[in-house]
């Protein structure tokens, strides 16, 4: 990272303090995901029927659920699962989508048409509905939630990578690399690909929030994560029955944390976009 980039980052952070806040929140969530089980004050699975449905107190900051489990501990421990699902899904769609998109953009012709058709077909579905269908067909497991989330995000990476590679394939440095005797694939991987990374990074950050939302939504309707495992979406679902009788804390805290996590990624994505390309700011 050069001095100019650092200067630019400092400029963006001071110009838009929101990005700085987003980065701090993001670091906090990463810490929770890494060290959650050691930070949590109680065992997230230990039920205590004597302390069921207790409102927030000094002992239980976020209250307890219907089985007397500490909600704060469950939220902290769930961070790893929610982030794990989102990170692996986004990583999978990044690797596959960027590879397919680069090939389509670099070679054009048949490869482009077939890959474009795949992306169009996925996009022809309402994405959450397609994810539901995939999980229902493949089986109700966490791994399949990751696969479904990866598939529905694929078209976005294919499109970004295709467009970015396409405008660069005739660039001077590409011609130069080719004349120097590099093979097509080597030119694509070593010379073109590094240049399309910045716009894809922005896509990743914007996508992460959506992936978390998607995974939580699937487990909210009973797909993927099974009770008693702690996960934000399923905790909201467990609290849903109590909210209309006034036990608000069971659903509110996991829902609020989920929202904050998604919000963090969206802000971070916006901030990253400002760093990469100030003109694209909307």
């Amino acid at each position: 990272m050069s001095a100019a980039t650092l200067k630019h980052i400092r400029y963006v952070a001071t110009e838009n303090p929101v990005t700085l806040v987003a980065f701090l929140l993001f670091s906090g969530f990463v810490l929770l995901a890494l060290f959650g089980p050691w930070i949590a004050p109680y065992d997230p699975l230990a039920s205590n029927s004597g302390a069921a449905l207790k409102p927030p107190s000094a002992a239980h900051w976020f209250g307890t659920d219907s089985l007397g489990r500490d909600i704060l501990s469950r939220i902290i421990v769930a961070a790893r699962l929610d982030f794990g699902i989102a990170v692996s899904a986004v990583a999978a769609s990044f690797v596959i989508g960027a590879a397919l998109g680069s090939l389509a953009g670099f070679y054009g012709g048949w490869a482009d048409r077939i890959i474009g058709r795949i992306a169009d077909t996925i996009m022809a579905f309402p994405l959450f509905v397609l994810a539901m269908g995939i999980v229902a067909a493949l089986g109700n497991t966490v791994a399949n939630i990751v696969i479904a989330t990866a598939i529905i995000n694929l078209p976005f990476y294919i499109r970004v990578a295709r467009a970015e590679v396409n405008v660069r394939r005739g660039a001077g440095y590409v011609e130069a690399a080719r004349l120097a005797g590099n093979s097509d694939l080597r030119v694509l991987a070593m010379h073109v690909f590094p240049n399309i990374l910045p716009p894809i990074m922005v896509q990743i950050s914007l996508n992460m929030g959506w992936a978390i939302l998607n995974a939580a939504g699937l487990s909210f309707i009973g797909l993927g994560v099974r009770p008693p495992q702690a996960e934000w979406g399923i905790m909201v679902a467990e609290g849903a029955t109590y909210i209309i009788s006034g036990e608000w804390w069971v659903a509110l805290f996991p829902g609020a944390v989920l929202m904050l996590a998604v919000f963090t990624f969206n802000l971070l994505g916006d901030g990253l976009r400002d760093i990469m390309d100030p003109r694209m700011r909307t």
């Binding site: 022809a124 009973g222 909201v236 209309i244 829902g255 989920l258 904050l260 919000f263």
Partner: protein, 334 residues
Amino acid sequence: MILKRLFGALPNIVGVVIVTFILTRALPGDPAAYFAGPAATTEAIEQVRASLGLDKTLAHQFVLYLKDLARGDLGNSLTTGQPVVTEIRQRLPASLELTFCGLLIAVVVAVPLGVLAATRPGTWVDHLCRLLATAGVSLPTFFTGLLLAYVFYFLLGLAPSPLGRIDVSFPPPPAVTGLYLVDSLLARDLESFRASARQLVLPALTMGLFVMAPLMRMTRASMLGVLSSEFIRTARASGLPRSQVLYAYAFRNALLPVVTTLGMVFSFLLGSNVLVEKVFAWPGIGSYVIEALVSSDYAPVQGFVLTMALLYVALNLAIDVMYVLIDPRVGIEG
């Protein structure tokens, strides 16, 4: 021109049908055993396998599948024993009513806010709109729904209990379109119109809040682009009143990209529909599919995915046609 767009949607429909077919055949374990039910004997399973055509080649199975689709046969639900098509047709109006009311709320709020932000770029109004838009896409719909139900039903007592489409003391209006709001008006029954509208407000607002953000962002961005263009400068220089420049010239041109984003907005709406229906016990196809998922009843799930996808293709087509109608230039160039 419009005909050409219709043909353009064909590959998407073909793709959708192929993917749903693959999903039918990718069921965990033996599909025949699933469709025969848990208590079936080996012979019964074999019989189901033959009747489903699962003993034939994949290509042959695909042809059979297409034939069933052409006859409008999506199989039967295991739990209710009813044909999936009938049940989806009965429940679809409820989902459509909810989806379109949500969209209406979002458009009514988001478009003016977007224009407001675009006319005052860089001010606190703009920053606030941007923050609200980011917060909006971060909201898990199921959570917003619960929150609204808690505040307006439990705390304030303003909304009716979040269960179903109409208060239990009212009979549903005579079915003409299946949309309660329209049906009750057709029957000139203002009481049941009010009752169903009261049930509808919270779920529709939940859906609206979720899609407001993309609409607002797009309105803002496209309005900003148009406002800095030359014909607006000319209009201003000619001394036209501010409101005329803004609404008659700028806004009409800024509308086109907003119409394009409607496609993505519908994808969000149809997806979140399922979650919102679960939260508000709304008897649409979303809650139908959740019941089916819980009892591992796959025919309704596949029927649902196919219906939603075809609906989405149709909506995108409608958006395309609308685009041609709004902007005559699209027709000339294409």
